[in-house]
Symmetry: C3
Subunit: 389 residues, 3 copies
């Protein structure tokens, strides 16, 4: 394993630009692969560091400055991601005020394929006395203090981008996230493995939700959400309106009001992996997320089939909780506690499927999981998942 | 037309420093002219980009990092602008929190000759439930994602600084401003032409007000505001106190509380151009603003003849609205709506007058416009212009 | 005196990196000394300027980007400072939102040996109508607009780092702080001399408190606070709990809730200097602060003997006021007013003691001051020092 440190704030190490490709990557297997890093300039992206990885089949860009979020990806000619109305990103957190607009300032910088939500809180903003806890917390707006690239000279020649983000301060949060975003040459997968570590001498609580967002070509009229549903709960009356067709997507519809559904999913066994997929209408393109339910027991589907220029997107969101206000989740036992020296790991694999066969195979896999038991679909918001009105 | 792109965030283009002067500008006409760009360092101006233009007669500095505001100008030995108590600007928006002090954090970065107010809102901060909409909105604190210099090789050899600023995000604003700030060699004028473009698939609302600010030598004891007044309304009781002498300025007076007056102005015809002027006591120096009423029907005069070190300044403020809280303006039909794919253009010309003859000529022009009809002066705040107490 | 200007924003001067050591410092006396400056990169310290001084005996690092705070110091093998849970600092103020968490966002960047609190307000956050005044004000989060190093070729060969920080804007604050942080070769002392200057044409009010923070090896179980106490008041019921042993420190205790004590101290004469000391258990290491009571009449002791990873620290805090909410202090006459053109100077000397003899000598000095009069210890919070419950 060769390691290239790009940022190590505490050791005064920082590399403005970096590029490794082909030969220097060290093995024939890396032909067509590259890893590079550069600093962006201008507009609200001024000073943002970007790490780009191309494994020969899939390319993706990581934003250390935005908590190691994944900005964009592509597989061949297919973009994987969405078009945010925040057209000038990735946005430096220095230009984001999370408290804006009653605590939804997070949206001013939201344009990523993967935006993490947490760690002090995620979900809807809420007030606790004088304190406004902003939408989706701060982790997406904390620059990584450590970034390194690891390249494995031995098969399967893993390429790893490691990053560390601290959300820790006096009288407050105390968690370090160490992420390893990895892939192997020629693969249609990338893995996001995050380890959350208690930095304090007392137990600390945390929330984490992975906001994976997709637009065309995976999202389109007639596209479908496919997952092994154990339980389905519409978040609110607006979601109830779309419940009958929750798994089918409409065309871009200017002014469409977002809908959100909460799920429990099936897995091979209670601690096993599940898989959720978004496939296009023809069923020849899809993106799938694979992850262990034990790490991320809650799944949220966000449907925002608004106009193309308004953020026509859907979010597939595995989480340790549902994106309700944190006190709601806490009361229902869905806030994590890291004991002293404790850790929580969450690993999600993004799989990009580019043929009818590949899509069909995952659908079969999901159908098999679904066979465990029929989906229980609640006709309206229901405890303990969502507030009953 | 030769174009030099200084910033193009979406195409990874950014130039740290740039200078064109004399010969390389391309024509004999450009003798004595220059256009340059540099990055500022230190204090709260760290990382701020500045574009400076000198047309041989008038020089001015544009701040891409602050939404293409105009920081300062000068004509010969005369400064055009004011001395803000924020002495360490131009301030990087990264160091401005608009929510500070109950929503007047905008003032912490306010030191410009021209500061734009908008686009989601302008005017006084207001609360809408849990949401605090800050004073004068955010456009002055959004860095431009695109900046280019255009130099016309053909007469009249226009020099243009173009910039694009996006105020757009999910579930929120959706407007791009494309500004062209232009002048020609030897001219005493500069033109600010802004085009506001709806980036979304639904109609979007916006507000825009041009906060042009002047201090000595144009502002001084005995200086006068001259404009073709159709209607004049004092904003509040404090303004009523100064109504009798609204068009005359006092000396610097420590502790002076600001006064604001709202106007409808006359133009040649309903859609025509108007002109408003600030002239010094002797009448041999003045600054005038020319703009079409159809684009900017509302005019606000801000008198802040406080101490020289407290911001002795006056604001001549053409706007699409008056700087009341946005809901007040909305209810009175003074909030703009851009239809889908719609645009709004606002163009203002700043003219710097440096002789008694030049000043007298504009005064004559204004007198002629005033001749259309006598000014209606309301003795107290009056609907629909200002809240009646 | 030779001067090296590192930052002068208003004159477009800024030096990215700088190093002077040994010979070039100019005199034999400077052997072993150095002064250097660099810019930090990565994480939340991105873009932070750091000035490091080593006088041969004591080394310390100043953070111009954080209002000329002192990040860390060391004397031989002994660290002088503490370990903040904000492990990725020094934090660029661009990444700090003072309004966070109900106005305690200051803590997100708090990791310094010396953090200044002020100038509009310090102490606990408070609301005044719609306005939230954040914990400890903004001065620690304003980058210095001017930084220079002065080296005196004549004995005692003073090394001075000068910095200017403006907290000034329209309708708001109007103070410039000019600090001179100085030492001489081989000395165990460093002096922080701040001059606060009214920049406006009216009187301005201000608050200033010096938050000096220490952890191991000076803070440890059995360490003691030693000062010539005239009056001692526990801040609140929590402080009352620890009153009997207020001057003795416990071991790191996870979850320990902070305790604060307010003091009046004795000095040689009413306008004279006082001295307060933190010494380790063995009495062979200590840090002492010396300053004139006329400049800083109020002293606060902050005891935060929480876990080592939670910020095991104690604050010795000379101030012009106690860190109550500003209105409380104002009503009791403890807010400074700078008249027009007025100034206030506050000078504190940090002394690092590294032997039993040195510690004993200062203890003797303090005992002598204490001999003036016995300490008056109030058993509970008492006016006019603290709110009586």
């Amino acid at each position: 394993m060769r390691t290239f440190v790009l940022t190590d704030a505490s050791n005064d190490s920082w590399v403005e630009s970096f590029k490794l490709e082909g030969e220097p990557l060290g093995a024939e297997a890396f032909h067509g692969c590259s890893v590079s890093k550069r600093r962006l300039h201008g507009g609200r992206r001024e000073g943002v560091d970007l790490v780009e990885v191309d494994n020969g089949a899939v390319a993706f860009a990581i934003v250390p400055t935005r908590g190691m979020n994944i900005w964009k990806a592509s597989a061949g000619a297919d973009r994987v991601g969405w078009d945010s109305p925040a057209t000038d990103g990735p946005v430096n957190p220095a230009y984001v005020n999370l408290l804006n607009l009653g605590g939804i300032g997070w949206l001013e910088g939201f344009d990523e394929l993967l935006a993490r939500c947490g760690l002090m809180n995620n979900g809807a903003p809420y007030r606790d006395g004088d304190v406004l806890h902003p939408l989706h917390g701060r982790i997406s707006n904390i620059p990584a203090s450590y970034v390194a690239v690891h390249v494995d000279e031995k098969p399967p020649h893993e390429i790893v981008v490691e990053g560390r983000v601290e959300e820790s301060f006096l009288f407050g949060a105390g968690v370090r996230m160490t992420t390893r975003i990895s892939t192997v040459p020629g693969s249609n997968r990338l893995t996001v493995r995050d380890e959350f570590e208690n930095l304090k001498d007392q137990p600390v609580e945390m929330q984490i939700l992975y906001h994976w967002n997709f637009g065309p070509p995976h999202l389109e009229e007639g596209a479908r959400f496919v997952a092994p549903v154990k339980t389905l709960i519409p978040r609110d009356p607006r979601a109830v309106e779309g419940l009958a067709a929750y798994d089918v997507y409409g065309p871009p519809e200017p002014g469409f009001a977002e809908q959100a559904y909460f799920f429990e999913l099936h897995a091979d066994d209670p601690d096993g992996r599940t898989v959720a997929m978004l496939r296009n209408k023809a069923g020849d393109k899809a993106v799938a997320l694979r992850y262990p339910l034990a790490q991320l027991p809650c799944f949220t589907l966000w449907k925002n089939t608004a106009g193309l220029r308004e953020g026509y997107a859907t979010g597939l969101e595995p989480g340790a909780n549902y994106p309700n206000p944190r006190p709601f989740e806490k009361a229902r036992g869905r806030v994590l506690t890291l004991p002293v020296d404790g850790r929580h790991v969450a690993e999600t694999v993004l799989e990009i499927l580019q043929s009818s066969d590949a899509v069909a195979e995952v659908e079969t896999e999901i159908r098999r999981l679904q066979a465990t038991a029929a989906a229980v679909v609640h006709p309206s918001p229901k405890e303990p998942f969502a507030a009953e009105s």
